[in-house]
């Protein structure tokens, strides 16, 4: 089952006609692959899917959930967290409040990683944590903060690298126990964030493509990692504009390891390692 450009156009315009979702500026290679996967997983052809979407709004919502990619990890890419710890977060050390937005937070591991880091830097109490995703299923998981232990086992290593060790000073070692932030139950195969962690963030459904800032607040830091790779160049620029206008001056923008601002918005930010700072 090979999806043609025409099929893809038909799919995009069908979704657009029955909902507010606009996939027309998604990266076409990824979108084709995702659509193909949805069809294969449900053993249906494109016409059947489109007919079902036309008749039932819930099918549109489910299709949107199914085509989004939800890869995330605790402390994914430790070098980024080292940068946050040593060069980005210290800039806000004396702020009365620190507003942070995780745009495209998926199942929330990054949100909780950030909270752990903030707490270790004595900044968590002053932080307001906002997190959003287009996919309501992953948001539910994020709100509960309960994960499969064995899927997250490998990433405890990252916790050690970011929280326990200091890359700038190898003699320093903070033996922070995991239980300070989450409980591990090997029998039940769960890793559950503590109640004080789960209670704090504000999670909201949000579509970066069609909605602006829904949090009625500007931000000191925006993290949006491995989200814009699914958008084409034009749409990426639109998202950079949204981020730029909702960051405070000198606010930080953290993208994925292989994402960058290539277009006209590049000169509105300064580079800070892998990250960007609004000029």
């Amino acid at each position: 089952m090979q999806i043609t450009d025409l099929d893809l156009q038909y799919f995009i315009s069908s979704i657009k006609s029955v909902s507010k979702y606009d996939l027309s500026n998604y990266s076409d290679k990824s979108l084709k692959r995702r659509l193909q996967k949805v069809l294969e997983d449900n053993s249906i052809n494109l016409m059947t899917l489109i007919n079902r979407m036309m008749g039932d709004r819930a099918v549109v919502e489910k299709t949107i959930r199914d085509i989004t990619v939800n890869t995330t990890e605790l402390f994914r890419d430790p070098t980024v967290w080292h940068l946050l710890r040593s060069r980005i977060l210290p800039r806000f050390k004396n702020n009365k409040t620190i507003n942070i937005w995780h745009a495209g937070c998926s199942t929330g591991q990054e949100v909780y990683s950030m909270m752990i880091l903030l707490n270790e830097m004595d900044m968590l109490e002053r932080a307001k944590i906002f997190a959003s995703d287009i996919n309501t299923d992953v948001l539910e998981t994020a709100k509960h903060g309960v994960y499969k232990y064995r899927f997250n086992l490998n990433y405890l290593d990252n916790f050690d690298k970011v929280i326990k060790q200091n890359p700038l000073n190898f003699e320093e070692y903070n033996d922070v126990p995991y239980e300070k932030y989450f409980d591990i139950d090997k029998q039940r195969d769960t890793l559950s964030m503590k109640q004080f962690m789960v209670d704090k963030p504000i999670f909201r459904k949000h579509d970066l493509v069609t909605e602006g800032n829904i949090f009625y607040s500007k931000f000191d830091i925006i993290l949006c990692r491995n989200v814009i790779i699914y958008f084409n160049y034009a749409l990426q620029n639109k998202v950079f504009e949204l981020f730029h206008s909702n960051l405070y001056p000198k606010g930080g923008l953290v993208l994925g390891m292989h994402e960058s601002i290539l277009g006209p918005w590049a000169n509105k930010f300064e580079r800070l390692g892998h990250a960007y700072v609004k000029k």
Binding site: S27, K29, R33, V69, I228, I229, L262
Partner: protein, 185 residues
């Protein structure tokens, strides 16, 4: 006359790819796309290791980076690497394919769709079947399909699966791959 070379490799391909990169003409007229399996946790050091002997600059590209001739683009660890319209790289963190991210199949399939008959696909030593279907797609679109001689491979699975799946243009030892690439225009 060609627009790109794409090379896929896994277990046992590191030395082969190093030899190929060290023998490329410095003014090679095409981009070289590299999709090589590696340990997920080894995220740094690989591009440096390949760069040491390479005559072409080896780059782990950013998403939407423009693809330019005379450069080698290495699929970054833990991302799938696609080729998109406008001759750009696109990255993705979708689920693993054939137990792999990056998946050689995905890189080959998308490159074949963009470059069609102007693509040269090469499959090297490897321990799984990732890449075999991708090479078939290169061939289906009229491109050139090359596999490393299984007899020379440290691990034959990838090349043998490729040969079962599609009739290839050449079965080459490393030296012949190098000679072939010297003449590519």
């Amino acid at each position: 006359m060609y627009k790109a070379v794409i090379i896929g490799g896994s277990a046992g391909s590191f030395q082969v790819i190093t030899r190929i990169l060290s023998s490329m003409p410095p003014n090679f007229p095409l981009p070289v796309l590299l999709c090589l399996h590696r340990l997920k946790h080894v995220r740094s050091g690989f591009v440096e290791a390949l760069s040491i002997k390479s005559t072409l600059p080896v780059i782990e590209p950013m998403d939407k980076e423009q693809i330019k001739p005379g450069r080698a683009y290495l699929a970054p660890a833990n991302y799938h690497m696609y080729v998109e319209l406008g001759n750009k790289i696109a990255l993705s963190t979708e689920e693993v394919v054939n137990h792999s991210r990056p998946s050689i199949d995905l890189s080959f399939i998308t490159a074949a769709q963009i470059y069609r008959e102007k693509l040269i696909g090469i499959i090297l030593s490897g321990a799984n079947r990732d890449g075999a279907y991708g090479l078939k797609k290169v061939k289906d679109h009229g491109g050139i399909a090359i596999v490393q001689n299984p007899a020379e491979c440290q691990v034959k699975t990838m090349t043998e699966t490729s040969l079962k799946m599609t009739p290839v243009d050449h079965i080459f030892n490393t030296n012949d791959i190098i000679k072939y690439l010297q003449k590519v225009k």
